[in-house]
Amino acid sequence: MLCHAVHRLLLAIPVLLGVLTVGFMLMQVVPTDPATVRAGPMATADVVAAIRRDLGLDRPLLVQFGLYLARLLQGDLGVSIINNIPVATELGNTIGPTLELMLASLIWSIPLGLALGTIGAYWRGKLIDRAVMAVSVAGVSLPVFFLGLILIWFVGFRWGLLPFTGRSGPLWTLDGLIGITLPALTLGGVFIGPVARMTRTAVLDVLGAEHVRTARAKGLREITVVLRHALRNALIPVVTLIGLQIGFLLGGAVVTETIFSWPGVGRLAVGAITSNDFPMAQGTILVLAGGFIVINLVVDLLYAVLDPRVRA
């Protein structure tokens, strides 16, 4: 187990270096000169040159890369070109809402997907299975923004039931819960399809296994056989697959945040890119990529904990 963990950690290092290099290159190719930007429009050439020296921009590229790494380690991601707010501060403010949105989406869509998939597998080939499959194929084909726009139009606008712009408070308050409902329904809605599909396949696999036949032969009730013996074993591959689908969820989150003006990292990143705010864009991309390295590591290790066979 420890060996597996160390192996995985070591593999993450070159990936992290790669991401940092891409982040560094991002700042090299952009057309604006960071020194001129920091100095402001009124600065004299001397001041710009001084700032350039300060930032190490007159040094060789490799030294600059070292300086860049040192700055990152100190949590200095630069300052927004647009509003002069430190990138790290903005990121700190937006990560919470994004995680909140992802959590609120997963908390209802995963159980529903698991239930649908298990039902489909149990009554395989029957009408209800076909219905489950139809819902899941439709689910994986539905653009997130379409679902979001439908919910906004009917629930938010036509029926006036729920708010559809911005975040109204933290998740643990009533206002926060009401505010997150539509975005979470949107993002979770497109996640049900994949989860139901993966669960159905996994449960079908396990239902044919010998231990399930044994459980039936013992005279256990069907519900016990399905939930305790089939679904439980099917959960191992499903958990991994859900972990791998977190990327898909993030893609949905970026779009959902844009539609609902949700103050998260995705919306921050998109705004920074479309307004040419390079330091902000670089910071958000670095943090998102870093987050992925961590998530993948956790999923990997979780898999090993759940399924002892992997550790060998």
């Binding site: 923004f145 379409f146 726009l149």
Partner: protein, 271 residues
Amino acid sequence: MNRLLRDPLALIGLALVLAAILAAIFAPVLTSADPYDNDLASAMQPPGPDHMLGADDQGRDMIVRLLYGLRLTLLMGAAAVGIGGGIGTTLGLVAAFYRRLDTLIMRIMDVLLSFPAILFGLAIAAIFGPGTTAVILALSVATIPLAARIVRATATVEMQRDYIEAARAVGMGDNRLILRHLLPNCLSALFVWATLRFGQVILLGSALSFIGLGAQPPTAELGAMAAQGRTFLFFAPHIAVVPSIAIFLVVLAFNVLGDALRDALDPRLRV
């Protein structure tokens, strides 16, 4: 193939896919109107006798916009699947054929695979600026590792077969062996994968356009059209709904067809 033709769902999927492709190719023939010609008198007109699917905020006919939008969207999808699939296939074949390179290539693929397509979209749009090219590039990069995995898995199995040994015994060169024997035997798996991937790529590409990183308005592209309609959602919902439904139907058709193809071509996966 017979099995496929007896499945009504697969036939509907196939018909829709063909209809979309033909409509995209023959858009200039099907309509003489220009998708950028505006007519402010009929701006935001709901579906009716003048404009069957309504007109957008500039009074441009939605059907004309839809045809040209479909054209660009499918073209973007084809470019991404073609470029990413081509590079991925090459890497997958090399990994399966030259075992020494296998670990190196597949490790790099694993790394690419660990980042979601949207992240490539954000990074590439940040470097090159938002646009159709950025979307194609991002989706190609995201597609490479998927193609490499499928092809490597299929080719590794094929490498165990007798015909490879036989071809080697008669002194066939590596390149010829890969192109004439190994690749053709991977094509059916590749075809199924490409059909399914096409649907995903269209979904991702239109999402990138929708959030403003892809095709820019007033370009007729389905995702960009939906984004443009979002502004007028409460006055003229059809501007956003028409392109959104088009994306949904096209992706659904590719997914249904891809699933049916997989069931028909790969009996092991039949349930």
